[in-house]
């Protein structure tokens, strides 16, 4: 049956190329666009995102492309400034979770035995909670703020990284060169730096891309619950929540929601493509 394997992977590779082309390029463009917004929200925005005016609940018009909210604030300016808040915070969540999960995953995979057992049971425990619920409990405990939201989301999302990195370490640990390196008396730090970490980078990148979208979504969820950055900060989830006060004023929530959707969708598409490209067997995310 080996004969069929070769051509089949070929066919699959071609499909992946097709998959990557238009959809993935669009996703890249969208994300790049948002990064530009993050960098230049200040002078892209027509108004001060916090400035209130008498012109409340103005529908989209030439003066206010996305309309105004219940305090007469310009929704477009708030959406643009929201990127400045949501995207860096999501990146911080991913970086933090990657750092915590990465280190614990390396320890679990490299040391094995008791350390592995303890860390893996810890991941099981965190997985026993739905993410948004645990994040809610943590932020509520420490008090709602941007920092605590980030902290809470790191706490709920590190286990995925730990498992994937541990898996990557275990797969190299099984290979001969690692034990050879050990026999040659190379110290564990050197082995980690030279063999283990470079080999964990691929899975880590795939996972981080997939999880970036998840981080944006969870952060928006926490803010929607009132547990994110404090008002009047223009956080997207909190802005959508404002729209719930009067659903007939659709523009108040539609535009920030679209912002969340486009960022998350772009991340998910890129994450999917990255998974196909680097590691078709990685069952990352959830």
């Amino acid at each position: 049956m080996t004969a069929t394997v070769l051509p089949r992977t070929g066919a699959r590779a071609r499909r992946h190329r097709v998959w990557r082309q238009p959809v993935v390029v669009t996703a890249l463009v969208v994300l790049a666009g948002w990064l530009v917004v993050v960098a230049s929200a200040g002078w892209l925005s027509p108004y001060d995102p916090l400035a209130q005016s008498a012109d409340i609940y103005a529908p989209p018009s030439a003066a206010h492309l996305f309309g105004t909210d219940e305090l007469g604030r310009d929704v477009l300016s708030r959406v643009l400034h929201g990127a400045r808040l949501s995207i860096p915070l999501a990146l911080a969540i991913v970086a933090g979770a990657l750092a915590v999960g990465g280190v614990l995953g390396l320890i679990a995979g490299y040391l094995g035995k008791l350390a592995d057992e303890v860390i893996m049971r810890l991941t099981d425990l965190v997985f026993a909670f739905p993410q948004i619920i645990l994040a809610m409990a943590v932020t509520a405990t420490f008090g709602p703020s941007a920092g605590n939201a980030v902290l809470a989301l790191i706490i709920v999302s590190w286990p995925v990284y730990a498992r994937v990195i541990r898996g990557a370490v275990l797969s190299i640990r099984g290979e001969n060169y690692l034990s050879a390196a050990r026999m040659l008396g190379v110290g564990p730090v050197t082995v980690l730096r030279r063999d283990v970490i470079p080999n964990s980078v691929g899975p880590a990148i795939v996972l981080a891309t997939l999880e970036l979208g998840n981080a944006v979504l969870l952060l928006a969820g926490l803010s929607f619950l009132g547990l994110g950055p404090r008002p009047p900060a223009p956080e997207w989830g909190a802005m959508v929540a404002l729209g719930a006060n009067d659903i007939s004023m659709w523009w108040v929530s539609v535009f920030p929601g679209l912002a969340i959707l486009t960022v998350v969708l772009a991340c998910n598409i890129l994450g999917d493509a990255a998974r196909d490209r680097f590691d078709p067997n990685l069952v990352g995310g959830r």
């Binding site: 004969a3 051509p7 089949r8």
Partner: protein, 270 residues
């Protein structure tokens, strides 16, 4: 090996070429393959992995991946095999041509009972009732010399050893009374000690059922006592085709000689 107008002829493959879709356009996997099998005959196909032996078997049963391009003539039991005629192909599969796979543990469904897997195609092809099919399944399991056939029907594949599973797979292949059995390396995945048993079962079934067998292997030596005719495959082509005895005694193609030489080497071809 062009087909002679032999009334005994069961299967004739002429100028078969297969191309599979690849990343840079179609990739040829079989080119100009011709072979024939007479009724009651065992024909061997030898070659290394990737030489196109399994691909030939899959082409006969139309089990190629989607997008495969097939040209050439396939004639079975006096009629042309037309892959586009789905109904006819369904009738041929299992009923006309049956197949035994290399790894019996992978080729049996892990969650369906052995009884179910032995009888489901019997009922489709032969129109048997549940009781009739069950009785026949017991008979078949006896013929492949499996102990406790009744109990086996209620069991699941993981409860058997590889050798036992391969016997069950052979029984399943024969269940719908095929004329031709394709055995794709049926002993490769098995212990050396059980190989001989499987080969014995195959040979005795051939005479009992008046069955033709297309025996695919990478081990020319296995064919010596089994196949009357052997085709050697390399890179998707038939490089040599002759009566097995002649082929073993005086191999003409260098690749055949290499295969024979490899056989004396205890190391397995990967």
């Amino acid at each position: 090996m062009s087909a002679d107008p032999d009334t005994d002829e069961l299967l004739a493959v002429e100028n078969l070429a297969v191309r599979l879709p690849g990343p840079d356009g179609p990739v040829p996997v079989l080119e100009d393959v011709s072979l024939s099998v007479r009724r009651g005959e065992i024909v061997g196909i030898a070659g290394e992995s990737g030489s196109g032996k399994s691909m030939t078997a899959r082409t006969l049963l139309d089990l190629l991946p989607t997008g495969a391009e097939v040209s050439g003539t396939l004639r079975f039991d006096g009629a042309e095999l037309d892959h586009r005629d789905r109904k006819a192909m369904h009738a041929v599969r299992g009923h006309g041509i049956a197949m035994v796979f290399q790894d019996p543990t992978a080729a049996m469904h892990p969650m369906l009972s052995v009884g179910r897997q032995l009888t489901e195609h019997m009922r489709v092809h032969l129109g048997l009732t549940r009781t009739q099919a069950k009785a026949r399944a017991v008979e078949l399991l006896e013929q492949v010399r499996l102990p406790d056939p009744e109990g086996a029907l209620r069991s699941y594949p993981h409860q058997f050893s590889g050798g036992q599973l391969q016997r069950i797979a052979i029984a399943s292949a024969l269940a719908a009374r095929p004329r031709l059995l394709i055995a794709d390396e049926p002993t490769t995945a098995l212990d050396v000690t059980v190989q001989a048993g499987i080969l014995g079962v195959l040979d005795s079934l051939r005479s009992d059922f008046d069955l033709s067998v297309l025996f695919i292997t990478h081990d020319l030596g296995v064919l010596a006592s089994l196949a009357s005719h052997t085709c050697v495959f390399q890179h998707g082509r038939v490089v040599e085709s002759a009566p097995t005895a002649d082929l073993l005694r005086s191999p003409e193609h260098p690749y055949t000689r290499a295969l024979l030489a490899a056989r004396t080497d205890p190391a397995e071809v990967p």
